[in-house]
C-alpha cells in the first residue's frame, strides 16, 4: 500500500504543472468575469424592457386608456412629439430607446366601426443584432403587442356590451394544470416541471463531459510522456508489480480530474448565477410538494446511483485513454489518438439532449447504450423518472467495460507490446 501512495504522489506531482494551475485559475477568472458582465447586461436589458416610446397620433380617449394601461402594467411611457415614426426612431432624443409604438390617427373611430386599426410596433437595434438586449427584443415586442391588444379588446367589448365583464369573456375557464410522471399525478404547471428538471440536470452533463475529457487527456499524457522520456523502461525493470503502475496512474489522473471538475463547476455556477440569479431554485421551492409527489426530487439513494454511474464513466474513459496512451507514438500524437474517445463522448453527450432515447431507432439506441458514457449522462433523468433498475444495469455494464479495458491495459503493461507497439491513425507498426 505504501508503494502505491509513493507512485500516486509522484504521478500527482508530475501532472500538476504550473501551466495547469495557471490555466485553471484563468478559467475560473474568465467564468467570473463573463458571468458578472452578462448578468449586468441582462439586468440592464430587463430594466430597459419596461421603457417604450409612444407616438399618439390618435389623441383620443382610447389612446389615453392604452397609455394609462401600459403605465399601470409597469411600462415607462415616453410620449413622442407629433411627426412620423422614422423621425422619432432616429431622433437623438430617443437614442437609448429600443421599443416604439405608434397609435395611428383614427384608431378609436376604426374600432368603433368594427374595423381593425393598424398599429406600428418598432424594435430598434443600435448596429449589431447580438447580445442579451437583442435576444430579448422579440419577446419584448410580443409582450407589448399583447398588452395593447388587451386594452383595445377590453374597450371593444365594453363598447358592444357595457354590462359584460371583458376578463370573463376573454378567459371564461380556470385552467388547472396537472402533470403525470410514471404512475403519479400532481397539480403543477408543466412549464414549472420542465424548468425544475432542466435546473436539476443542466450542469450535470457539462461537468461530466469536462471531467472525462480532462482525465483522459491526463492519463494519456502521463503514459505517453513516460514512454517518450524512457522513464517507463526504468520502472518496468524495477521490482514493482506492473499492475500497481497501471492503478497508480489511473488513480492520480482521476483524482486530479475530480479536483479540476470541482473547480470548473464552481466557475460555471458563478457564471450561471450571474446570468440567471436564483430563479430556478425559487421555482423549485414553491412547487416542492408537487415535485415530491411526482418523484422528481432525487433521493440520497438516487444521488448515490448517479455518483456511481459517473464514477464508472470516468473509470471507463481512463482505462480506454490509458490504452490509447500506451499505443501513442509520443506526446505530440495524443491529440490525434484521443479522437475515437472524443467521438464516443460527443455522441453520448449531445444525442440524448436532442432525441428521446425511448423513441429512437433500435440501431441508434443500441449504439448509444453500448457507449458506457451515455449511462452517466442520462442517469439524472432516469433516476428522476423512477427507473432505478435501468441505472443499475447501466452501472453493471460500465463496470464490465472498465474491467475489460483494465485487463487489456494490464496485459499491455505486463508484456513487451508497451515498448514495441505504436499506433498512428490506425496504422500499426513494430519498432526496434
Amino acid at each position: 500500500m505504501k508503494i502505491f501512495f509513493i507512485l500516486f504522489r509522484k504521478e500527482v506531482k508530475e501532472l500538476v504543472t504550473k501551466q495547469l494551475v495557471i490555466s485553471i485559475a484563468a478559467m475560473l477568472f474568465i467564468f467570473q468575469v463573463i458571468g458578472k458582465f452578462t448578468g449586468e447586461q441582462s439586468k440592464a436589458s430587463a430594466a430597459r424592457k419596461s421603457a417604450v416610446v409612444v407616438m399618439d397620433l390618435d389623441r383620443s380617449p382610447l389612446s389615453g386608456m392604452v397609455i394609462a394601461g401600459l403605465e399601470k402594467t409597469g411600462y415607462k411611457v415616453t410620449l413622442a412629439a407629433d411627426g412620423n415614426a422614422e423621425e422619432a426612431l432616429f431622433s437623438p432624443q430617443y437614442a437609448d430607446e429600443s421599443l416604439f409604438v405608434t397609435l395611428p390617427a383614427g384608431m378609436q373611430k376604426a374600432l368603433d366601426c368594427g374595423k381593425k386599426p393598424e398599429l406600428g410596433f418598432f424594435a430598434k437595434f443600435k448596429k449589431t443584432i447580438s447580445g442579451m438586449g437583442a435576444s430579448m427584443s422579440a419577446p419584448r415586442t410580443g409582450k407589448i403587442i399583447s398588452r395593447v391588444n388587451e386594452e383595445l379588446s377590453d374597450y371593444a367589448i365594453k363598447k358592444k356590451s357595457p354590462s359584460a365583464d371583458p376578463a370573463f369573456l376573454k378567459e371564461p375557464i380556470t385552467a388547472v394544470e396537472y402533470v403525470a410522471v410514471g404512475g403519479a399525478v400532481a397539480q403543477v404547471p408543466v412549464s414549472q416541471v420542465l424548468l425544475f428538471a432542466q435546473s436539476q440536470t443542466y450542469f450535470f452533463p457539462i461537468a461530466v463531459f469536462f471531467i472525462v475529457v480532462l482525465s483522459a487527456q491526463m492519463v494519456m499524457m502521463a503514459v505517453a510522456s513516460e514512454k517518450e522520456n524512457k522513464t517507463l523502461e526504468t520502472l518496468l525493470s524495477s521490482p514493482i508489480d506492473r499492475r500497481l503502475l497501471v492503478v497508480s496512474k489511473l488513480s492520480a489522473s482521476a483524482f486530479i480530474a475530480a479536483v479540476l471538475s470541482g473547480a470548473y463547476m464552481l466557475g460555471m455556477r458563478s457564471f450561471m448565477s450571474g446570468i440567471t440569479g436564483a430563479a430556478g431554485s425559487q421555482t423549485a421551492v414553491s412547487a416542492r410538494s408537487a415535485f415530491e409527489k411526482l418523484g422528481l426530487l432525487i433521493t440520497p439513494q438516487g444521488y448515490l446511483l448517479i455518483g456511481l454511474s459517473v464514477l464508472f464513466c470516468i473509470l471507463c474513459a481512463l482505462s480506454m485513454a490509458f490504452i490509447l496512451g500506451v499505443l501513442a507514438e509520443d506526446v505530440k500524437s495524443i491529440q490525434g489518438m484521443i479522437t475515437p474517445l472524443m467521438m464516443m463522448l460527443m455522441l453520448s453527450y449531445l444525442l440524448p439532449m436532442f432525441i428521446d432515447l425511448d423513441l429512437a431507432p433500435t440501431g441508434l439506441k443500441f449504439l448509444l447504450y453500448a457507449i458506457p458514457f451515455t449511462h452517466a449522462f442520462i442517469a439524472p433523468q432516469t433516476v428522476m423518472s423512477g427507473n432505478t433498475a435501468q441505472v443499475l444495469w447501466g452501472i453493471i455494464y460500465q463496470a464490465w467495460v472498465f474491467a475489460l479495458f483494465v485487463s487489456i491495459a494490464g496485459r499491455l503493461f505486463s508484456g513487451e507490446a508497451l515498448l514495441t507497439l505504436k499506433l498512428r491513425f490506425g496504422r500499426k507498426k513494430n519498432v526496434l
Binding site: 508503494i3 523502461e233 521490482p239
Partner: protein, 242 residues
C-alpha cells in the same frame, strides 16, 4: 561466479531479426561492453537482460535466474539505465532519487542510505533541491547514473552511459563505474565509443547486424587483428563477416 549467461539469443520483430543467436557470458565484478554502430542490436540485448523485452529464441540468465521465467526475481538484483533516458521533470533531483530508492528498495532505511549515496555520487549538491527541468543534459545523466547504481544492484545494465556528456563528466562516470566494479558490482554496458570502451571494460563483445562477431579482452582483440586500436578491429571484423 557467472553473473550473466546468454545463449543463442534471438529477437525478431515481424520480418526484422534484430538479434541473431548471440552467446556470451560475464563473470561477477566484470565490466563487459557490447560495442558496435547504432542500430545493430546492442540495446535490444540489454533490454532482454533487463526483462523488458522477451527473447524470440535462446535464453539469458542473470546470476542463474532466467530473464523470462524468473523475471520478477531478476528485477530484484538488476538496475537498468536506458539510452538517452529522461527523468521526471517536475520532481527535484532529491525527490527523484528518493522516489527511485523507494521503488527499488522496500526497506526504508536501505532506501534512505541509497539516497544519501546517490546524492554523493552525482555531486549535484545544492542543485538536488532544484527541479530536474532546470538541469543540463550532463547533470541529468549523472543523476540517472547515480540512480542506477545507488541501490547497489548485483548487475548494472547501462546503455550508452556517457552519451551526450562532456569530457570531464564522462571521465567521472567512467571512474565511478571502475570503482564500483572493483567493489564487486557487475556491469554490462553498451557504447559505440571505442576509446571509452577500451579504457573501461574488462572484455568486449563486438556486434554487427545483430550478430556477435568477437568476444575477448581489448588487448587480445588488438593482438589477434594486429592493430593498435579497437576501431580497426571492428572494421576488419565487419569486412570479413567473421
Amino acid at each position: 561466479m557467472t553473473a550473466v549467461n546468454v545463449s543463442g539469443l534471438v529477437k525478431r520483430y515481424k520480418k526484422i531479426e534484430a538479434v541473431r543467436g548471440v552467446t556470451f557470458s560475464v563473470t561477477e565484478g566484470e565490466i563487459f561492453a557490447l560495442v558496435g554502430p547504432n542500430g545493430v542490436g546492442k540495446s535490444t540485448i540489454l533490454k532482454m537482460l533487463a526483462t523488458i523485452l522477451v527473447p524470440t529464441a535462446g535464453s539469458a540468465e542473470v546470476f542463474g535466474l532466467d530473464t523470462v521465467a524468473d523475471a520478477a526475481k531478476v528485477r530484484e538484483i538488476i538496475s537498468y539505465l536506458p539510452e538517452e533516458a529522461g527523468a521526471y521533470k517536475n520532481l527535484t533531483g532529491h525527490e527523484y532519487l528518493d522516489f527511485m530508492a523507494s521503488v527499488f528498495l522496500r526497506d526504508g532505511e536501505k532506501a534512505a542510505a541509497a539516497v544519501r549515496y546517490g546524492a554523493e555520487l552525482c555531486g549535484l549538491k545544492d542543485r538536488l533541491k532544484d527541479k530536474i527541468q532546470t538541469y543540463s543534459k550532463g547533470m541529468t545523466r549523472k543523476l540517472l547514473l547515480s540512480r542506477a547504481v545507488m541501490i547497489k544492484p548485483r548487475l548494472a545494465i547501462l546503455d550508452e552511459p556517457t552519451s551526450g556528456m562532456d569530457i570531464i563528466n564522462g571521465y567521472e562516470i567512467r571512474r565511478t563505474i571502475k570503482q564500483l566494479a572493483a567493489q564487486g558490482m557487475t556491469f554490462i554496458i553498451s557504447s559505440h565509443n571505442m576509446l571509452e570502451i577500451e579504457f573501461l571494460s574488462d572484455r568486449i563483445g563486438m556486434i554487427n547486424r545483430g550478430e556477435l562477431l568477437a568476444c575477448d579482452t581489448p588487448a587480445a582483440l588488438k593482438e589477434r587483428f594486429a592493430t593498435g586500436n579497437l576501431e580497426e578491429v571492428f572494421v576488419k571484423l565487419a569486412e570479413s563477416g567473421a
